[in-house]
């Protein structure tokens, strides 16, 4: 008698891993050889990988599956293009150019029209497609989950492995579902949502997990918002965050230069629409949030989970029962130069920064500009805006957003990672306090001794004009037209 075997319902994450499994490396298929569709390389995590290939005499398996972008170490000064020799003087940028030339990889260097932050450039070119596996030498590669792709960060040894073999030795993660329902209140953004998630589950809450974000709040979210959410999933430990692709994704891809067109697109769309978790697929952990309970968030400490709604006060470590957490809170509050009980909205800032792969897309700049229109940056605040890509920069200039920033007193810069990790000259001084639209508030992240408060771009704008952390909801939009 024939036995009809139905395969067990699978999550979207499991389907992506299964579809890319070349072979199992153990009996339970926990560890697999995983095929990688595409990668993006930067100048600071890739050099030793190329050196390794060269020393072993190994070619790059699929050079056309890689794009190289200069973003981490470069200047964002408006006049940087006038110094054509700057890149050749920089050892990382010049070695990057040599490697790309020798191994046949397309390079967006400092002077390329499409230069920008890797995780902003890849989507805007249409290089991130639903169903792909994309691994890259940057932890925020999780961004690509917004497209229903599995994106994750890897170290330099794995970059070398991937370039040489088009595969990675990959350990399968467990499945976590984060379901968010309802409409986000006015003034509350995707950034606040993901910060609320991280604050709820902790900086290691998703270690060993891939997250699937689902629910009506996520479904209603723009691509920019989804990218912000997936981008910061790594800040709670997730090495992969996916959202089932839908019409929002397909519409976004429809005018992107390198996305499939014509007959290829019809076949692709059919496949893309099938990319979702099966009904009844089991998740090892499920977290639920109500969007209406989320308020504008800010971090007060030195880990992304040390955060609260802007209406909160700095917590009192003495009230923490867990001794490790009590010590960590004390240390963080001390580093940040704050005191228990201080209202978050009373914290005076020295700097405002809008930028990074988390929040420097066009929608982010528009949101900040809405607050800045007709207002000026407080006299004691130095404010910087670094568009996510040269393309975003041009678009903002066309839309008149650039002028709103400059009239308000922000410096309008060229693209790059800039003050998110301060590998270039955009550094905060010791003791300086920065309202930042970035992703990490670690000790020393924006400069040795610098103090970072993470928040949404609109909240950074509100802090910039008032001179202190500020509830954007109390400010309202700037001048109406």
């Amino acid at each position: 008698m024939a036995v009809c075997v139905e395969s067990a319902p699978r999550t979207l994450y499991d389907k992506l891993v299964d579809a890319h499994t070349v072979r199992s490396l153990d009996d339970e298929a926990r560890e697999v050889l995983l095929y990688v569709d595409r990668t993006v390389l930067n100048e600071y995590t890739s050099p030793q990988a190329f050196t390794g290939l060269r020393e072993a005499g190994r070619p790059v398996a699929r050079p056309e599956a890689a794009l190289a972008v200069v973003d981490h170490v470069n200047s964002t000064e408006p006049g940087r293009a006038e110094d054509r020799n700057a890149a050749s003087r920089d050892i990382q940028m010049s070695y990057f150019a040599r490697n790309c030339a020798e191994f046949g990889i397309e390079l967006f260097d400092l002077f390329h029209r499409q230069q920008g932050i890797e995780h902003v450039v890849m989507p805007e070119l249409g290089l991130v497609l639903p169903g792909m596996v994309i691994a890259a030498g940057d932890s925020h590669t999780t961004t690509y989950g917004a497209f229903g792709a599995l994106g994750f960060g890897i170290g330099t040894s794995d970059i070398e492995h991937m370039l040489a073999t088009q595969t990675l030795v990959y350990r399968r993660l467990r499945n976590m579902k984060i379901e968010v329902t309802g409409g986000l209140p006015l003034g509350v953004t995707a950034k606040d949502l993901i910060m609320a998630v991280i604050s709820k589950i902790g900086a290691s809450g998703a270690n060993g997990f891939a997250i699937e974000f689902a629910g009506s709040t996520i479904e209603a979210m723009s691509m920019e918002g989804r990218m912000t959410v997936c981008n910061m999933a790594v800040e709670c430990g997730a090495r992969g965050a996916v959202i089932a692709p839908d019409e929002t994704v397909f519409a976004y891809l429809s005018d992107k230069p390198r996305a499939p067109k014509g007959g290829g697109l019809s076949a692709a769309l059919k496949h893309w629409m099938s990319l979702k978790s099966d009904p009844g697929a089991s998740f090892d952990k499920t977290v639920q949030l109500e969007a209406r309970e989320i308020a504008p968030m800010v971090t007060w400490g030195t880990s992304p989970d040390q955060a609260g709604p802007i209406t909160d006060t700095i917590p009192d470590p003495e009230r923490e029962v867990d001794p490790v957490r009590q010590r960590d809170y004390r240390k963080a509050i001390d580093y940040m130069g704050l005191a228990p009980g201080l209202p978050l909205a009373d914290i005076r800032i020295d700097r405002a920064f809008i930028g990074s792969c988390t929040n420097a897309r066009i929608e982010d700049l528009r949101a900040a500009a809405t607050i800045l229109k007709g207002r000026t940056v407080a006299t004691h605040v130095k404010a910087l805006v670094v568009p996510g890509s040269s393309e975003v920069r041009r678009q903002a200039e066309r839309e008149g957003i650039a002028r709103i920033f400059t009239e308000a007193g922000f410096e309008w810069r060229q693209s790059g990672c800039s003050m998110c990790l301060a590998m270039n000259d955009d550094v905060a001084a010791a003791g300086e306090r920065c309202a930042s639209s970035t992703n990490r508030n670690f000790e020393g992240r924006q400069g040795a001794g610098a103090r970072t408060h993470l928040m949404s771009p609109a909240m950074v704008a509100a802090a910039a004009v008032t001179g202190h952390l500020c509830d954007v909801r109390t400010l309202g939009g700037g001048d109406a037209d």
Partner: protein, 203 residues
């Protein structure tokens, strides 16, 4: 690149009990400007180890006797979170660190350890507390990867890592070389894959 094998080592163990020690703290950005793996020893925990003049800070555990000779770390949970920078692992190895024990590692850091022959072991809270007590007592401990056992005069504990990783650590194998032995499997997979999803094939 083949790594240095790890079989059994005996050395001091230093405790870094804070949670969420991130790779920005392990290897600050000023040490990320090179194109090779050299000279990263100086960068490890730089802002915790040295003052602004570059003098060692006497209170930091790795500057104190006997922990300045440590080959092992017992650390707070979520060790190595944040940036993917493998420089953190290269620097720790250059400083002489050969094994790290914690309740949990961040994923990318954990993989970076495996690729470079740095033994990374997750243990439960009781075992971490035991190792922390040994560290604070200034004991030397023996870490044996053959028997997956950590011993000291006060007692011993066992640990378990997956067999493939254990074999690679003990033999110092070249991961890329191993994968390339499956190159025919990869080529066959790729042909089938690009046929199934033709819009992904080179145009």
């Amino acid at each position: 690149m083949p790594t240095e094998p790890f079989i059994c080592r005996t050395a001091h163990i230093a405790a870094l009990p804070a949670a969420n020690i991130d790779t920005d703290v392990i290897m600050p950005k000023v040490f990320l400007k090179g194109v090779d793996r050299k000279g990263l020893e100086a960068g490890v925990f730089h802002d915790l180890r040295f003052d602004e003049q570059g003098s060692p800070l006497p209170d930091f555990v790795l500057n104190r006797t006997p922990w300045d000779k440590s080959e092992f770390l017992v650390a707070g949970p979520n060790f190595g979170c944040g940036s993917s920078r493998e420089h953190a692992v290269w620097g720790l190895l250059q400083l002489g660190i050969r094994a790290i024990f914690t309740e949990s590692f961040a994923g990318i850091f954990f993989d970076n350890c495996a690729r470079n022959g740095l033994l990374a072991v997750e243990l439960n809270a009781d075992k971490i507390a035991f190792l922390t007590s040994l560290a604070e007592a200034g004991e030397r401990v023996s870490v044996d990867l053959e028997s997956q056992n950590i011993s000291a005069p006060q007692g011993e504990i066992t640990f378990h890592i997956d067999e493939r990783r254990r074999r690679m650590l003990m033999n110092g194998l070249d991961a890329i070389g191993m994968t390339l032995e499956w190159r025919e499997d990869i080529a066959a997979f790729q042909d089938a894959y690009l046929t199934t999803y033709p819009w992904l094939a080179p145009q």
